[in-house]
Amino acid sequence: MMEVEEMTFEDSLKMLEQLVNELENGNLELDKALEIYEKAILLRDRCKKILDTCDRKVQMLIETSEGPKKEDFVIE
């Protein structure tokens, strides 16, 4: 399985929902349930971390003689 820290938001959320369904439908033993719970917490934290990112980039694509280049864009 992929490391949670590298997963995209969409994949994390998808996996979280899978786990929720597994928990809700499966008549699971406590051990397994706790394992799922632990994983769910990891995924939730991953999603929250992505949601809380503030350092999104706003860039402008500039055509140069060496091809397109990106530079930071600030609204005037």
Partner: protein
């Protein structure tokens, strides 16, 4: 000698010269509107110009009723009216009685022709419309680097799901605009954006014209990333709007279509976690119940005590688990759960050992159960109080004893005692 007149007289004379000259009265003038100001009085003031010259113009409220469109800056019109002089200022202006949009007929025909052509190719088909990605990492925006569109998109997206933005600074009106927009769509696709917003602010049909050109339509249709069009604020649809996967009424709307609301997503996450916790509590409740049943089945006191001790521990575990679930600090919780899960394993193992112990004890108990011995034909002798007499030394001649057998008892009197 030349006469001397006042300024007012001069201006009044010029005014009458102008008003009597058929060459500047009741004429149609072709030009472009600019500096349009709409006053609360209902009068419109503007400049009418062509590439080399300009004239101030006014259209009074009562004349406005004669036109069926809303004049806008950069609009090409033919205006009908006369030149008049404003005596107080000595400036002259064109009084417009009515006007028509110029060149619109041609544009309209071109629009209709292209629309028909692309429609026949199926470029507007519903089946071609792609779903927008739910959580894009990067949005590409093709628009002018100046102006409200990019500003609105950047500001709006700040409160939405965090995504990077790459702007392609495109020329959105005038000569070469369509090519510039198409180039932007291609360039941003190469950058691997997840979704594209293509647009500009509102304006006249001439201003928006690039978005009615085939080059732009083809570029949108060929875009790998789904395209949101955000052209103008008007109800009119451009060809770009028709080809795009989704049409947004405004740049703000486009950002909102591209990105989920942060709070909504957070709420969704919370709901998921509530479901997780509820399921886990359910499982714990079931476990708890099972131990209770086991508890009630094991009758020997010692085992019962041990079981209830474990039951208490389980209760404790349960409540700790519950408080752990409510714990806000993720790391702490994770570490805690791990311990708890180990503890639980331990409890389970203990209980299993207990169960085995209990079985062994109860087998041993069974084997020494005196009543079992009676099955084999032995008898148990007790005194009148039911106390077992295990030594002949305790027998007294003349006393009554009870003889217990496997299927009943008898009373007897001691007649003789012999000791070994």
């Amino acid at each position: 000698m030349a006469e001397t007149i006042t300024v007012t007289q001069l201006n009044t004379r010029v005014r009458s010269v102008l008003s009597e000259s058929p060459t500047v009265n009741d004429v149609w003038v072709l030009g472009e509107l600019s500096n349009l100001k709409k006053y609360p009085s209902g009068h419109y003031y503007f400049t009418l110009k062509d590439s080399t010259s300009e004239i101030r113009g006014v259209m009074f409220r009562q004349s406005r009723a004669r036109i069926d469109f809303e004049p806008q800056d950069n609009m090409k019109v033919t205006a009908f009216g006369k030149v008049d002089l404003y005596v107080e200022r000595g400036s002259y202006q064109f009084i417009v009685e009515t006007m028509q949009r110029s060149g619109v007929g041609d544009l309209y025909l071109a629009y209709e022709a292209l629309k028909k052509k692309l429609e026949a190719e199926g470029l507007f088909d519903r089946s071609r419309k792609r779903n927008l990605p739910l959580y894009p990492k990067t949005i590409g925006v093709v628009t002018s680097p100046k102006g409200a569109v990019i500003h609105d998109i950047i500001t709006t997206s700040g409160r939405l799901f965090p995504a990077d933005i790459i702007l392609y600074p495109a020329q959105v009106q005038g000569e070469g605009a369509a090519e510039s927009i198409a180039k932007g769509i291609k360039a941003l696709n190469k950058e691997g954006v997840d979704v594209l917003i293509v647009g500009r602010g509102g304006g006249s049909i001439e201003d928006l014209w690039a978005f009615n050109e085939e080059t732009v339509a083809r570029a949108i249709a060929a875009s790998e990333a789904p395209v949101i069009s955000a052209v103008g604020h008007e109800t009119d649809f451009t060809i770009a709007d028709l080809v795009a996967d989704v049409r947004a009424p405004t740049p703000t709307g486009a950002a909102e279509l591209a990105l989920r609301d942060r709070k909504e997503v957070m709420k969704h996450l919370d709901t998921d976690m509530i479901r997780v916790k509820r399921s886990l509590s359910g499982i714990l409740d079931r476990m708890h119940y099972r131990f209770r049943i086991l508890d009630s089945k094991l009758s020997p006191r010692r085992a019962e005590q041990r079981i209830s001790m474990h039951s208490m521990r389980l209760d404790e575990l349960y409540s700790r688990m519950n408080s752990a679930l409510k714990d806000k600090i993720g790391t702490m919780r994770r570490r805690f759960i791990k311990t708890d899960s180990n503890m639980d394993l331990y409890v389970q193992r203990m209980l299993e050992n207990d169960k085995k112990d209990l079985q062994r004890y109860s087998e041993r108990l069974e084997s020494i159960n005196p009543m079992k011995v009676l099955d084999r034909g032995y008898a148990l002798i007790t005194d009148e109080n039911g106390k077992a007499l295990t030594s002949s030394g305790k027998m007294r001649i003349g006393t009554d004893v009870n003889i217990m057998m496997k299927d009943g008892k008898a009373e007897a009197e001691i007649k003789k005692v012999e000791m070994k």
